[in-house]
Symmetry: C2
Subunit: 219 residues, 2 copies
């Protein structure tokens, strides 16, 4: 019997070990590798084989969405199940738009991951219960309140390296003047980056930026 080969990417080794332990009792699933950073994922798949990638979207250093984007853009054909601590509508939508095959909130039960792997391997999509609920409620809201008109059309497009750099410094509680000195650029430039970040990420203020940064481990 052919086993489904799975690769797990998450910055929490303890969670990886946990998932491996959960999957070890499954006859038809085999964990063939794991990565602790987004970068490692791409490297691993460049020289190894797996059927499914389980990807934690909240990984350090890089914009989590970016990893997923790169992975799919580089032509990898493997199915992707996204794991996330946060079940935010925006995030779910974006992930689906980019092309993930499944979405699991971390608060879901371990057995769901088995279901997800089997479903996705067989060409289906899989969403954990809380995600399904989110999507449904979004859908119903859409009927009434035209959920998040998204102002400019394309929010959430991934950030430029410089923007991520500025964002990281913002999240370290530096103000614009301090950031300008650290990066040797004008305060105006920093403020421009800041404004662009706020509009790109569709948040209201620095607080929104800080929260995005933490949730995406850009710290």
């Amino acid at each position: 019997m052919k086993k489904i080969k799975v690769h797990i990417a998450d910055d929490h080794k303890i969670l990886i070990d946990g998932i491996i332990a959960v999957l070890s009792s499954e006859e038809n699933i085999e964990v063939v590798g794991y990565s602790l950073t987004g970068k490692d994922v791409l490297n691993w798949f460049a020289s190894n084989e797996a059927d499914i990638l389980i990807l934690d979207i909240n990984m350090p250093k890089v914009d989590g969405i970016g990893v997923l984007q790169n992975f799919l853009e580089q032509g990898f054909q493997q199915k992707v199940i996204v794991l996330s601590s946060y079940d935010e509508t925006k995030l779910i939508k974006e992930v689906l738009k980019i092309g993930a095959n499944g979405f699991l909130a971390k608060k879901c039960a371990g057995e769901n991951i088995v279901e997800a792997i089997n479903a996705v391997y067989n060409g289906k999509q899989y969403f954990s219960k809380s995600i399904q609920e989110k999507l449904l409620s979004t859908f119903t809201k859409q009927l009434t309140k035209s959920d998040l008109p998204s102002q400019d059309g394309s929010f959430f497009s991934s950030l430029t390296p410089r923007e991520i750099e500025v964002l990281r410094l913002i999240a370290k509680q530096y103000n614009s003047k301090e950031i300008s000195k650290l990066l040797h650029i004008s305060v105006n430039t920093v403020e421009t980056h800041r404004k662009n970040l706020i509009s790109k990420l569709n948040v209201k203020n620095v607080v929104g930026l800080a929260i995005y940064a933490v949730k995406n481990n850009i710290v």
Copy 2:
């Protein structure tokens, strides 16, 4: 042979299931229960028995430190191993001051949890490697730079309910004026709370508050 009874508290069910799976191969350890919220922990221990509590410090709604504090204040004699996504010096110090027996960063390997349980059960303290490194570097810094004089003496004392309320709204990107309307209090009061939060949590500005809020799931 008497088994070590363990209770796990974490808001990520998938992690709990993972840890259970990891521990299932251990002859002398038995997971006798789990909680998904801080509140449940206290309730569970009021009517059940366990030797060790594995507590995720980043749990929803309540100030994670608060749960630990309540647990120990209510006279529970069980050993506590704290799990955390973030290995911040401040947090580690506070947790140890309150009286936890072990501290594991989530990025550590699954086997560490077994070591931690055994060590703590036998009256020892246990810290995962990254935590040990943090503590060491803090210690060496102390010799040179008098690490965090903490200004007023007692930073990080846990927050009042009202402060947590304000903090939650700040983390939702409301500004002071909006919060004052939501809570039907004066802007000045909100600003006072905000200032107290900043000094209590020893952060620099709203960004620090937002980050604290996310890391403690006060969202």
